[in-house]
Protein backbone atom coordinates (compact mmCIF):
# COMPACT_ATOMS: atom_id res chain seq x y z
CA UNK A 1 0.00 0.00 0.00
CA UNK A 2 2.87 2.34 0.84
CA UNK A 3 4.48 1.83 -2.56
CA UNK A 4 1.15 2.39 -4.30
CA UNK A 5 0.67 5.60 -2.35
CA UNK A 6 4.17 6.84 -3.10
CA UNK A 7 3.62 6.26 -6.80
CA UNK A 8 0.33 8.17 -6.68
CA UNK A 9 1.99 11.11 -5.00
CA UNK A 10 4.79 11.01 -7.51
CA UNK A 11 2.32 11.02 -10.40
CA UNK A 12 -0.08 13.59 -8.98
CA UNK A 13 2.12 15.79 -6.77
CA UNK A 14 1.66 18.71 -9.12
CA UNK A 15 -2.11 18.46 -8.91
CA UNK A 16 -2.00 18.46 -5.11
CA UNK A 17 0.37 21.42 -5.14
CA UNK A 18 -1.91 23.28 -7.55
CA UNK A 19 -4.85 22.81 -5.16
CA UNK A 20 -2.74 23.98 -2.21
CA UNK A 21 -1.59 27.06 -4.12
CA UNK A 22 -5.17 27.96 -5.00
CA UNK A 23 -6.50 27.73 -1.46
CA UNK A 24 -3.71 28.84 0.84
CA UNK A 25 -1.78 32.05 1.32
CA UNK A 26 1.69 31.94 -0.17
CA UNK A 27 3.35 31.24 3.18
CA UNK A 28 0.84 28.53 4.06
CA UNK A 29 1.03 26.51 0.82
CA UNK A 30 3.54 24.03 2.25
CA UNK A 31 1.38 23.39 5.31
CA UNK A 32 -1.73 22.81 3.22
CA UNK A 33 0.19 20.59 0.79
CA UNK A 34 1.42 18.51 3.71
CA UNK A 35 -2.06 18.41 5.25
CA UNK A 36 -3.57 17.16 2.01
CA UNK A 37 -0.89 14.44 1.79
CA UNK A 38 -1.69 13.39 5.34
CA UNK A 39 -5.41 13.20 4.56
CA UNK A 40 -4.73 11.28 1.35
CA UNK A 41 -2.69 8.72 3.26
CA UNK A 42 -5.43 8.46 5.87
CA UNK A 43 -8.09 7.84 3.26
CA UNK A 44 -6.08 5.62 0.93
CA UNK A 45 -8.56 2.81 1.63
CA UNK A 46 -11.42 4.87 0.21
CA UNK A 47 -9.49 5.26 -3.03
CA UNK A 48 -9.37 1.56 -3.80
CA UNK A 49 -12.87 1.47 -5.23
CA UNK A 50 -12.59 4.88 -6.85
CA UNK A 51 -12.39 5.07 -10.63
CA UNK A 52 -9.77 7.73 -11.21
CA UNK A 53 -6.92 9.02 -9.03
CA UNK A 54 -7.74 12.59 -10.13
CA UNK A 55 -11.25 12.30 -8.70
CA UNK A 56 -9.95 10.98 -5.41
CA UNK A 57 -7.24 13.67 -5.16
CA UNK A 58 -9.66 16.52 -5.89
CA UNK A 59 -12.15 15.05 -3.43
CA UNK A 60 -9.70 14.84 -0.56
CA UNK A 61 -7.85 18.00 -1.60
CA UNK A 62 -10.93 20.23 -1.63
CA UNK A 63 -12.33 18.69 1.53
CA UNK A 64 -9.06 19.37 3.31
CA UNK A 65 -8.56 22.85 1.88
CA UNK A 66 -12.06 24.06 2.61
CA UNK A 67 -12.82 22.44 5.94
CA UNK A 68 -9.56 21.85 7.78
CA UNK A 69 -7.55 25.03 7.48
CA UNK A 70 -10.16 27.64 8.06
CA UNK A 71 -7.71 30.00 9.71
CA UNK A 72 -5.40 30.10 6.73
CA UNK A 73 -7.73 29.80 3.81
CA UNK A 74 -8.14 32.53 1.26
CA UNK A 75 -6.67 35.90 0.51
CA UNK A 76 -5.23 34.19 -2.49
CA UNK A 77 -2.12 36.08 -3.26
CA UNK A 78 -0.48 36.36 -6.64
CA UNK A 79 0.36 33.00 -8.06
CA UNK A 80 3.95 33.77 -8.84
CA UNK A 81 4.84 30.32 -10.02
CA UNK A 82 2.04 30.16 -12.51
CA UNK A 83 2.68 33.66 -13.74
CA UNK A 84 6.41 33.20 -14.07
CA UNK A 85 6.38 29.84 -15.73
CA UNK A 86 4.98 30.93 -19.02
CA UNK A 87 5.93 34.47 -19.76
CA UNK A 88 7.05 33.22 -23.09
CA UNK A 89 3.73 31.61 -23.93
CA UNK A 90 1.40 32.86 -26.57
CA UNK A 91 0.02 36.13 -25.43
CA UNK A 92 -3.37 37.61 -25.83
CA UNK A 93 -3.57 41.35 -25.68
CA UNK A 94 -0.11 41.49 -24.13
CA UNK A 95 -0.87 38.95 -21.41
CA UNK A 96 -0.02 35.28 -21.31
CA UNK A 97 -2.68 32.64 -20.76
CA UNK A 98 -1.26 31.72 -17.38
CA UNK A 99 -1.79 35.27 -16.16
CA UNK A 100 -5.33 35.29 -17.47
CA UNK A 101 -6.06 31.92 -15.86
CA UNK A 102 -4.64 33.10 -12.55
CA UNK A 103 -6.50 36.40 -12.66
CA UNK A 104 -9.79 34.76 -13.58
CA UNK A 105 -9.49 32.09 -10.87
CA UNK A 106 -8.64 34.70 -8.26
CA UNK A 107 -11.81 36.57 -9.16
CA UNK A 108 -13.97 33.51 -8.48
CA UNK A 109 -15.49 32.34 -5.21
CA UNK A 110 -13.99 29.16 -3.73
CA UNK A 111 -16.59 26.75 -5.07
CA UNK A 112 -16.58 28.17 -8.61
CA UNK A 113 -12.81 28.10 -8.53
CA UNK A 114 -12.87 24.42 -7.58
CA UNK A 115 -15.35 23.61 -10.35
CA UNK A 116 -13.15 25.40 -12.84
CA UNK A 117 -10.03 23.54 -11.74
CA UNK A 118 -11.74 20.19 -12.23
CA UNK A 119 -13.30 21.23 -15.51
CA UNK A 120 -9.98 22.38 -16.92
CA UNK A 121 -8.42 19.14 -15.72
CA UNK A 122 -10.88 17.21 -17.86
CA UNK A 123 -13.18 15.79 -15.19
CA UNK A 124 -16.71 15.07 -16.37
CA UNK A 125 -19.82 16.72 -14.90
CA UNK A 126 -20.77 13.49 -13.13
CA UNK A 127 -17.36 13.23 -11.48
CA UNK A 128 -17.42 16.88 -10.38
CA UNK A 129 -20.90 16.46 -8.91
CA UNK A 130 -19.82 13.34 -6.99
CA UNK A 131 -16.90 15.25 -5.49
CA UNK A 132 -18.91 18.29 -4.47
CA UNK A 133 -22.11 16.49 -3.48
CA UNK A 134 -24.37 18.59 -5.72
CA UNK A 135 -26.57 17.63 -8.67
CA UNK A 136 -25.00 17.21 -12.08
CA UNK A 137 -27.36 19.83 -13.51
CA UNK A 138 -26.06 22.34 -10.98
CA UNK A 139 -22.51 21.61 -12.10
CA UNK A 140 -23.42 22.00 -15.79
CA UNK A 141 -25.19 25.29 -15.15
CA UNK A 142 -22.19 26.62 -13.27
CA UNK A 143 -19.73 25.52 -15.92
CA UNK A 144 -21.82 27.30 -18.55
CA UNK A 145 -21.96 30.36 -16.34
CA UNK A 146 -18.18 30.27 -15.92
CA UNK A 147 -17.71 29.97 -19.67
CA UNK A 148 -19.96 32.95 -20.25
CA UNK A 149 -18.25 35.00 -17.55
CA UNK A 150 -14.91 34.20 -19.07
CA UNK A 151 -15.98 35.03 -22.60
CA UNK A 152 -17.54 38.31 -21.48
CA UNK A 153 -14.41 39.31 -19.66
CA UNK A 154 -11.75 38.21 -22.10
CA UNK A 155 -13.48 38.80 -25.40
CA UNK A 156 -10.77 40.23 -27.53
CA UNK A 157 -10.32 40.78 -31.22
CA UNK A 158 -6.90 39.90 -32.45
Amino acid sequence: MAAEFEQLIKDHGGRILAIARRYADTDAVDDLYQEILVQLWRSIDSFRGDAKPETWIYRIGFNTAMTSVRKQIRLREGKAILNNQSRSEESLGGRCQAEILSEFMDSLADIDSSIMMMYLDGLKGQEISSILGVKINTVQVRINRLKKMFSDRYLEVE
Partner: protein, 199 residues
Protein backbone atom coordinates in the same frame (compact mmCIF):
# COMPACT_ATOMS: atom_id res chain seq x y z
CA UNK B 1 -12.05 35.45 -29.00
CA UNK B 2 -10.61 33.46 -26.19
CA UNK B 3 -12.65 30.76 -24.48
CA UNK B 4 -12.43 29.02 -21.15
CA UNK B 5 -11.48 25.74 -22.80
CA UNK B 6 -8.39 27.41 -24.22
CA UNK B 7 -6.98 27.43 -20.70
CA UNK B 8 -7.09 23.65 -20.35
CA UNK B 9 -3.54 23.31 -21.65
CA UNK B 10 -2.31 26.00 -19.27
CA UNK B 11 -3.96 24.29 -16.31
CA UNK B 12 -2.57 20.90 -17.32
CA UNK B 13 0.88 22.49 -17.28
CA UNK B 14 0.33 23.75 -13.77
CA UNK B 15 -0.81 20.37 -12.46
CA UNK B 16 2.14 18.68 -14.06
CA UNK B 17 4.59 21.02 -12.38
CA UNK B 18 5.95 19.62 -9.19
CA UNK B 19 8.95 21.05 -7.46
CA UNK B 20 8.28 19.20 -4.24
CA UNK B 21 9.39 15.74 -3.28
CA UNK B 22 6.98 14.11 -0.89
CA UNK B 23 8.70 12.49 2.04
CA UNK B 24 6.58 9.45 2.75
CA UNK B 25 8.08 8.84 6.19
CA UNK B 26 7.23 12.36 7.29
CA UNK B 27 3.61 11.81 6.21
CA UNK B 28 3.39 8.61 8.23
CA UNK B 29 5.02 10.38 11.19
CA UNK B 30 2.54 13.24 10.92
CA UNK B 31 -0.41 10.80 10.85
CA UNK B 32 0.96 8.94 13.88
CA UNK B 33 1.52 12.24 15.70
CA UNK B 34 -2.01 13.47 14.95
CA UNK B 35 -3.55 10.16 16.03
CA UNK B 36 -1.50 10.21 19.20
CA UNK B 37 -2.50 13.80 19.95
CA UNK B 38 -6.18 12.95 19.46
CA UNK B 39 -5.88 9.88 21.71
CA UNK B 40 -4.01 11.83 24.41
CA UNK B 41 -6.54 14.66 24.26
CA UNK B 42 -9.52 12.29 24.62
CA UNK B 43 -7.72 10.32 27.33
CA UNK B 44 -6.98 13.44 29.38
CA UNK B 45 -10.62 14.48 29.26
CA UNK B 46 -11.86 10.99 30.12
CA UNK B 47 -9.28 10.49 32.88
CA UNK B 48 -10.05 13.96 34.28
CA UNK B 49 -13.77 13.18 34.49
CA UNK B 50 -13.17 9.70 35.94
CA UNK B 51 -10.65 11.06 38.43
CA UNK B 52 -13.14 13.69 39.59
CA UNK B 53 -15.90 11.09 39.97
CA UNK B 54 -13.75 8.50 41.78
CA UNK B 55 -11.98 10.97 44.06
CA UNK B 56 -15.32 12.48 45.08
CA UNK B 57 -16.80 9.05 45.75
CA UNK B 58 -13.74 7.79 47.61
CA UNK B 59 -13.43 10.94 49.69
CA UNK B 60 -17.11 11.05 50.60
CA UNK B 61 -17.95 7.42 51.23
CA UNK B 62 -14.63 5.79 52.07
CA UNK B 63 -12.25 8.35 53.51
CA UNK B 64 -14.78 10.09 55.76
CA UNK B 65 -16.16 7.75 58.40
CA UNK B 66 -19.65 9.13 58.71
CA UNK B 67 -20.27 11.80 56.07
CA UNK B 68 -23.00 14.33 56.82
CA UNK B 69 -26.10 14.27 54.60
CA UNK B 70 -25.08 17.69 53.27
CA UNK B 71 -21.69 16.32 52.16
CA UNK B 72 -23.29 13.31 50.50
CA UNK B 73 -25.83 15.41 48.62
CA UNK B 74 -23.08 17.73 47.37
CA UNK B 75 -20.97 14.73 46.32
CA UNK B 76 -23.86 13.28 44.31
CA UNK B 77 -24.47 16.67 42.63
CA UNK B 78 -20.74 17.00 41.84
CA UNK B 79 -20.60 13.52 40.29
CA UNK B 80 -23.76 14.16 38.29
CA UNK B 81 -22.39 17.46 36.97
CA UNK B 82 -19.08 15.80 35.98
CA UNK B 83 -20.95 13.12 34.05
CA UNK B 84 -23.10 15.81 32.40
CA UNK B 85 -20.02 17.84 31.40
CA UNK B 86 -18.24 14.79 30.02
CA UNK B 87 -21.30 13.86 27.95
CA UNK B 88 -21.55 17.42 26.68
CA UNK B 89 -17.93 17.52 25.52
CA UNK B 90 -18.10 14.09 23.91
CA UNK B 91 -21.46 14.94 22.29
CA UNK B 92 -19.95 17.86 20.38
CA UNK B 93 -17.89 15.44 18.30
CA UNK B 94 -20.93 13.42 17.25
CA UNK B 95 -22.80 14.51 14.13
CA UNK B 96 -25.98 13.35 12.47
CA UNK B 97 -24.70 14.07 8.95
CA UNK B 98 -23.43 10.97 7.19
CA UNK B 99 -19.95 11.33 5.76
CA UNK B 100 -20.14 10.31 2.11
CA UNK B 101 -16.81 12.01 1.38
CA UNK B 102 -18.40 14.76 -0.71
CA UNK B 103 -17.56 18.38 -0.05
CA UNK B 104 -21.19 19.10 0.87
CA UNK B 105 -21.18 16.35 3.52
CA UNK B 106 -17.86 17.58 4.92
CA UNK B 107 -19.16 21.12 5.11
CA UNK B 108 -22.37 19.98 6.81
CA UNK B 109 -20.38 17.98 9.35
CA UNK B 110 -18.13 20.95 10.09
CA UNK B 111 -21.13 23.28 10.34
CA UNK B 112 -22.89 20.89 12.70
CA UNK B 113 -19.84 20.64 14.95
CA UNK B 114 -19.16 24.40 14.92
CA UNK B 115 -22.85 25.16 15.64
CA UNK B 116 -22.75 22.86 18.66
CA UNK B 117 -19.55 24.49 19.87
CA UNK B 118 -20.96 27.99 19.39
CA UNK B 119 -24.16 27.05 21.21
CA UNK B 120 -22.17 25.55 24.06
CA UNK B 121 -19.82 28.53 24.32
CA UNK B 122 -22.73 31.01 24.22
CA UNK B 123 -24.35 29.25 27.16
CA UNK B 124 -21.10 28.27 28.83
CA UNK B 125 -21.48 30.67 31.74
CA UNK B 126 -25.04 29.57 32.52
CA UNK B 127 -24.72 25.87 31.73
CA UNK B 128 -21.18 25.20 32.94
CA UNK B 129 -19.38 27.94 34.84
CA UNK B 130 -22.03 29.14 37.29
CA UNK B 131 -23.27 25.63 38.23
CA UNK B 132 -19.71 24.31 38.43
CA UNK B 133 -18.56 27.22 40.60
CA UNK B 134 -21.58 26.80 42.87
CA UNK B 135 -21.06 23.05 43.17
CA UNK B 136 -17.33 23.38 43.79
CA UNK B 137 -17.92 26.07 46.39
CA UNK B 138 -20.46 23.89 48.16
CA UNK B 139 -18.27 20.80 47.82
CA UNK B 140 -15.24 22.56 49.25
CA UNK B 141 -17.42 23.95 52.02
CA UNK B 142 -18.68 20.46 52.82
CA UNK B 143 -15.08 19.20 52.91
CA UNK B 144 -14.14 22.13 55.14
CA UNK B 145 -16.91 21.29 57.60
CA UNK B 146 -15.98 17.59 57.58
CA UNK B 147 -12.30 18.32 58.19
CA UNK B 148 -12.53 21.16 60.72
CA UNK B 149 -15.93 20.66 62.26
CA UNK B 150 -16.50 24.43 61.98
CA UNK B 151 -19.41 26.02 60.14
CA UNK B 152 -17.92 29.50 59.73
CA UNK B 153 -15.29 29.47 56.96
CA UNK B 154 -11.88 30.94 57.78
CA UNK B 155 -10.46 34.03 56.03
CA UNK B 156 -7.92 31.88 54.13
CA UNK B 157 -10.71 29.63 52.93
CA UNK B 158 -12.76 32.59 51.71
CA UNK B 159 -9.71 33.97 49.88
CA UNK B 160 -9.50 30.58 48.18
CA UNK B 161 -13.11 30.99 47.03
CA UNK B 162 -12.27 34.48 45.78
CA UNK B 163 -9.36 33.16 43.70
CA UNK B 164 -11.61 30.42 42.35
CA UNK B 165 -14.25 33.01 41.42
CA UNK B 166 -11.62 35.14 39.64
CA UNK B 167 -10.51 32.05 37.71
CA UNK B 168 -14.07 31.29 36.60
CA UNK B 169 -14.56 34.92 35.52
CA UNK B 170 -11.33 34.68 33.52
CA UNK B 171 -12.61 31.46 31.91
CA UNK B 172 -15.85 33.21 30.97
CA UNK B 173 -14.09 36.08 29.16
CA UNK B 174 -11.54 33.70 27.61
CA UNK B 175 -14.38 31.66 26.13
CA UNK B 176 -16.19 34.78 24.92
CA UNK B 177 -13.02 35.90 23.19
CA UNK B 178 -12.61 32.47 21.58
CA UNK B 179 -16.23 32.48 20.48
CA UNK B 180 -16.05 35.89 18.82
CA UNK B 181 -12.62 35.61 17.26
CA UNK B 182 -12.39 31.97 16.30
CA UNK B 183 -15.62 30.01 16.25
CA UNK B 184 -18.05 32.58 14.82
CA UNK B 185 -15.76 33.66 11.92
CA UNK B 186 -15.10 29.98 11.12
CA UNK B 187 -18.82 29.26 11.10
CA UNK B 188 -19.45 32.28 8.88
CA UNK B 189 -16.90 31.01 6.38
CA UNK B 190 -18.51 27.59 6.35
CA UNK B 191 -21.97 29.11 5.80
CA UNK B 192 -20.53 31.17 2.96
CA UNK B 193 -19.04 28.07 1.31
CA UNK B 194 -22.30 26.17 1.68
CA UNK B 195 -24.17 29.10 0.16
CA UNK B 196 -21.77 29.07 -2.77
CA UNK B 197 -22.29 25.35 -3.19
CA UNK B 198 -26.07 25.67 -3.10
CA UNK B 199 -26.19 28.78 -5.28
Amino acid sequence: MMELDDLKTTWKKEVKMTTKIADFNSIKCEVRKLDKQAKVSWSIEAIGALFGIFSTAIFTWIWIDEPAIFTQVIAVILIASLIYSARLFFGIQQTETRDDLTLLAKLNIQIEKREKEVKMLRNFAVVQLIPMFSIMTLASYAVYIELTGRVMPSIAFMIGWGVCLAYFIFLHFYNRNHLNNKFLPALEQLYELKKQLDG
